[in-house]
Each structure stands twice: as C-alpha cells, then as structure tokens.
C-alpha cells in the first residue's frame, strides 16, 4: 500500500470515528473537534484518496483545475454556515451528507491543485483562506452565539483555531511552491 492510500484510510477512519459513538460526543460538545479536527480530516482523506487511487479523475472536465477548485470551494463554504454546522450535529442525515461531501471536496481540491497553473491556484487560495480567516476572526470576536449547538466559549476557540489553520495552510501552500510537486513531476506553470 502506498503512503497516500494509508493516509487516506487513517484520516478517513479517524473522521468517521468522530461521527459515531463514543467519538461523537466530542463533535457534539466542541466546535473545535467538529470544524478543526473532523472536517479537515475528511478533506485530507479525500485528498489522499484521489492521490492514491484516482490521480487522473475527471481530468477531461477539469482543465486548469477549475472544476475541482470550484467544487471544493463551494462545499467548504457550505459547511462553514453556522446553521448547517448545527444541522450536522442534530440530524444524522445531514451529518452523513457532510461526511461524503467533504471527502469529495478533498478529492476535488487535490485534482484542482494537480491541474492548475500557479495563477489559478493563487486565485482560489487567495480567496478561500482569507474567507476562512475572516470567519475565524468573526467567530473569535463576536458575543453572538451563532451555533445553537455550541457554547460561546467553544465558538471563540474554534474561531481562533480557524485563523491559525488558515495561516498554516497558506504557509504550507507557499512552501509547496519551492519544491517540484512529485505528483506532477514538473514545477508549477505560472500561466496555462
């Protein structure tokens, strides 16, 4: 088994364990466990699954990585809406939809990066990460409880975590530009 397949299985199993008892108690009580542990694990599982088992998936309809980025961006934005985070906590159907759609988003994100020239990557990274950081700053600073499922303290911590995660992901992306991407075996093109 390749490293990517192993990573996909481990992160997928860990994320699934957080939706089933007894792990479920963690995401029911803590917005940090839900939005900063489980959701990133699902995206990571999708990313590594695409890398391991379907590196060429959807290539024909994903020129410059546009479709992949759009699908990932929309799905991630959807699960940042407070009412939908609440719904995933209280409705098993919504939680199942979250599990599947975020794994798909992870795969789409990987296919986006694999196909996209640097300018397209910059566009989506430059849009997506500030969106996450902005939401994080808002969650960390407002006195308004946005999720009925979580306490204000939990929301504040999740907001702070989101800002940190956005910064870390931004740095990771910048660092990835300095070394040739082994999955593509060529350095990123600046334009198409």
């Amino acid at each position: 088994m390749t490293a990517a397949a192993l990573l996909a299985l481990v992160s997928g199993a860990a994320a699934l364990a957080l939706s089933l008892p007894p792990g479920r108690a963690l995401i029911e009580q803590s917005m940090v466990w839900h939005m900063l542990v489980q959701m990133p694990l699902l995206v990571a599982a999708g990313w590594w699954a695409a890398a391991a088992w379907a590196p060429g998936l959807g290539r024909q309809i994903n020129r410059h990585g546009l479709t992949g980025f759009m699908l990932a961006q929309c799905t991630l934005a959807y699960w940042m809406v407070p009412a939908l985070v609440d719904r995933a906590v209280v409705m098993p159907g919504a939680d199942a939809a979250k599990l599947v759609s975020l794994i798909v988003a992870g795969a789409a994100l990987r296919q986006g990066f694999a196909q996209a020239p640097l300018t397209v990557q910059l566009f989506f990274v430059g849009y997506g990460l500030p969106m996450m950081a902005w939401l994080g700053l808002y969650l960390a600073s407002t006195d308004l409880r946005l999720c009925n499922a979580y306490s204000l303290a939990s929301q504040t911590r999740a907001g702070q975590g989101m800002v940190v995660l956005a910064a870390v992901l931004g740095l990771a992306w910048a660092a990835s530009l300095w070394r040739p991407d082994s999955s593509r075996n060529r350095p990123p093109r600046l334009i198409a």
Binding site: N62, T67, L71, A77, Y78, A83, S151, A192
Partner: protein
C-alpha cells in the same frame, strides 16, 4: 493542451458552472433563500412564514397548581410573550429577566394587562418545583395577572417542548445551562406566531397587542 483544447475547455466551463449553480441552489434552499445563516434566524423566519401549533403539556405554577398549558394560554384571551429560563441561572436568564421586567412595566403603564401576558417557562423541571418558582417570581418582582412563571410537571415533556419552540439547551460548567434566548409570541389558541430577539421587546409587545382580540379590551 494539444488534444482538442477548445473541447476540453468547454466541458470544464460547463461543469464549473454546473457545480456553482448546484451549490447556490443548495445554499439557497438551506438558508431560507439566503435570509438566514444561523439556526436562530432560520427558526424565526420559519415561524413567521408558518405558525407552529403547540401541543399540550401538563404544567405547574408557583402555587403548585397543575393544569394544561393550553388551558393557561386560552384562559383569558391574552396573547402571550413567552421566554424560557431556569431559576438558578446567573447569566442569560438575567438579561431575559430584565427584558421581561421592562415589558411588565410597559404593559402596566399602557394598560395592556388584559390583552398581553408574560409567561416564563422553566426548562429545568427537576429543580424548579413550585417553591423555586415562587422564590424566582418574588426575586423578579412578577406582578400576578401580568407575568406568570410555570414549570413542566413531567420531566419527559421537556425535550418535546424545547423541540417545538426550537430551544437548544447545553449543559455548562457549574451546573448551569447555555441556551438560545428569544421572545416568543403565542396566541390564546396555542399558536407560536413570532420569534423575536432580546433587543426587540418593543416590536414583540406591538405584535402581541395587535394580535390580541379587540373584544378583550372592554371586558371587566
């Protein structure tokens, strides 16, 4: 890029657009047409669009009397402004209490006590029995005939009642609870017709008095 680039690009543009449209539709559907991004605003717009008929519950008042909630709501044709509290609360319920005290003062000042009533329902039936309710009523300065405090008689009803109103209660440190707070306008026939925020007490009072049947006003 050499193999039929135009064709690949068109398929990409089409699928990107399809993804965007489906995502917008899903978001539109999930947020009441982009109007509500939190559960709290969603339940407010849902109730405003389609009133919820509340089922009946056995309740206990501060004097220890048991009756049906419908009976209380219908008793003298008043429209009710309802909130949810628990008597040991030191945080959110205090601000709810202050809002209700101000509402009570306004109801008396404007002579609305025959048309609009205030009702606080405890969601902690295990601890909030009649003596606790009476003590809370005294502490808050509830005027009989204007502001009533009740609790559920059966602990088993608690989940249902909170679900019907859309209240989510979380256990918090020090035996407290964290919960969403709002003003609920309920008709004498047990219909939840409006949910308003704590800062909208003037609107809640205006809505409630407008809904109260005019005939009630003249009654002795």
């Amino acid at each position: 890029m050499s193999d039929a680039p135009q064709q690949g690009l068109m398929a990409t543009f089409a699928s990107t657009l399809a993804v965007l449209l489906i995502a917008l539709l899903a978001l539109f559907q999930a947020t009441a047409g982009g109007a509500a991004f939190t559960t709290e605003t969603l339940r407010r717009s849902a109730v405003a669009a389609a009133p919820v008929t509340l089922p009946d519950y056995a309740i206990v008042d501060a004097q220890g009397r048991t009756y049906a909630m419908r009976q209380l709501l219908a008793a003298d044709g008043k429209v009710w402004i309802v909130d949810f509290v628990y008597t040991r609360c030191n945080t959110l319920c205090l601000s709810l209490g202050t809002v209700f005290q101000q509402l009570q003062a306004q109801i008396v000042a404007r002579g609305l006590q025959d048309r609009v009533g205030l009702l606080s329902i405890s969601f902690d039936p295990l601890r909030d029995e009649a003596p606790a309710l009476a003590e809370y009523a005294r502490r808050m300065g509830m005027l009989p005939g204007v502001w009533q405090m009740v609790s559920l008689r059966r602990e088993a009803d608690r989940r249902r009642l909170l679900d019907d109103f859309g209240i989510m209660v979380l256990p918090a440190p020090l035996g407290e609870f964290e919960h969403n707070a709002a003003l609920h306008v309920v008709t004498p026939r047990g219909q939840l017709v409006h949910i308003l925020g704590l800062g909208e007490s003037a609107e809640a009072l205006a809505l409630a008095s407008a809904l109260a049947p005019a005939a009630v006003r003249g009654m002795p």
